[in-house]
Symmetry: C2
Subunit: 223 residues, 2 copies
């Protein structure tokens, strides 16, 4: 598969600016050939304001940003895009993304690229046609993955428990917990963990495993 994906856990890291913690990876991912990035801000009410935030950041990195909501024909805009960035839970039909156009996602925009959106942290606000996602990779991601806080008195379920409950369903895919600060780079059949934090991999029926930045996670692609 001629896929190129940069799947980021979070858009903003504590103490830094918008997309600052991954800006070098963005530059090398989109490279010099990409001039314009199509931004999909459908999931937020104030699309113009959110597009401006992305536009300002990408401009500083040397890329123009087009908001899909500004296009006369949004489907055509996706088909013609040199590159795509989705930061929220917008589901755009899979066929539009299957041709090697670089796809960058962050947060729920990362869920969209995976097998299903079932491991999002968002509340299920808008009823989607299904929980299936684009399927550019055959596993799920949990962005903003959060370790249990040993000092917390809160009895809400931990993220690990929720993922374990997801895996009680038969034939559910593996879930990569991407902590804030980490991201996954996928190029064809090669997947590499980037960033500054470990990721935690949950495979159904097995004990969770930690991976350090730089780890080769290509085995997750051969499902």
């Amino acid at each position: 598969m001629n896929r190129r994906l940069l799947l980021v856990s979070n858009s903003t890291l504590h103490g830094g600016g918008y997309l600052e913690h991954c800006q070098q990876h963005i530059s090398s991912f989109f490279g010099k050939n990409v001039k314009r990035v199509l931004f999909v801000p459908y999931a937020l009410h104030d699309r113009d304001a959110y597009t401006k935030t992305a536009r300002d950041k990408f401009k500083a990195l040397g890329y123009e940003v087009d908001g899909i909501h500004e296009a006369a024909d949004p489907v055509d805009a996706v088909r013609r895009a040199e590159a795509v960035f989705i930061a929220l839970g917008d589901v755009t039909p899979a066929p539009l993304f299957q041709d090697g156009v670089p796809y960058m996602g962050s947060s729920a925009g990362t869920n969209v690229a995976t097998a299903s959106i079932s491991t999002t942290n968002d509340m299920p606000i808008v009823y989607p046609p299904s929980f299936a996602a684009i399927g550019l990779v055959p596993f799920n991601i949990n962005p903003h993955y959060l370790d249990p806080d040993p000092n917390s008195r809160h009895m809400g379920e931990t993220r690990e428990l929720r993922i374990t409950q997801y895996h009680e369903e038969p034939e559910t895919p593996s879930v990569l917990g991407l902590r804030e600060g980490s991201m996954l780079l996928v190029e064809g059949n090669k997947a590499t963990l980037l960033g500054t934090t470990n990721a935690r991999l949950f495979i159904r029926g097995k004990k969770a495993v930690e991976y350090e930045p730089g780890s080769d996670l290509s085995f997750l692609l051969t499902d």
Copy 2:
């Protein structure tokens, strides 16, 4: 409406046993006439183990527990139930609950009784027929409501922000954030906040408001 509901934020409070923090309210809610409580453990894989936990606790309070999964005809079991307790996100058809049978919910079982399940904290694992819930009350609840932690470096969205995003959708109902330790008692057209913690009420387009235990929230029922 001849409804009787006890909608609890959480089954276990830090430092206490299962349902311990609300046991007095359970006793006065079900009272002396109820002998058997129908327990709905569908959402969890190990239904027998979970039913045993509930059975042991309710037995100590003087009630027998029947697991709905043990019934030959589950629909009939709901129709004949003297009282119902749902602790997880099981959606049982609304008509079965409209006749004044006392309904106790906790956590996602509380979401089930409200207008919609959109303000659950659970991951959207099983694709439901819709996000509509039983609608025994015309508003939503967010159980395990959690205040932002000022010391956290985590950039995931706060609960308040998620509820605000929910209210970006038109005509979405009010959301009562039930902190751990709090519960709502509904009898007919009267709703009272019980427990040991404040609740936080989010009305679309308005500033959130705090309510103390003992507050009369009946105005939420007249929507």
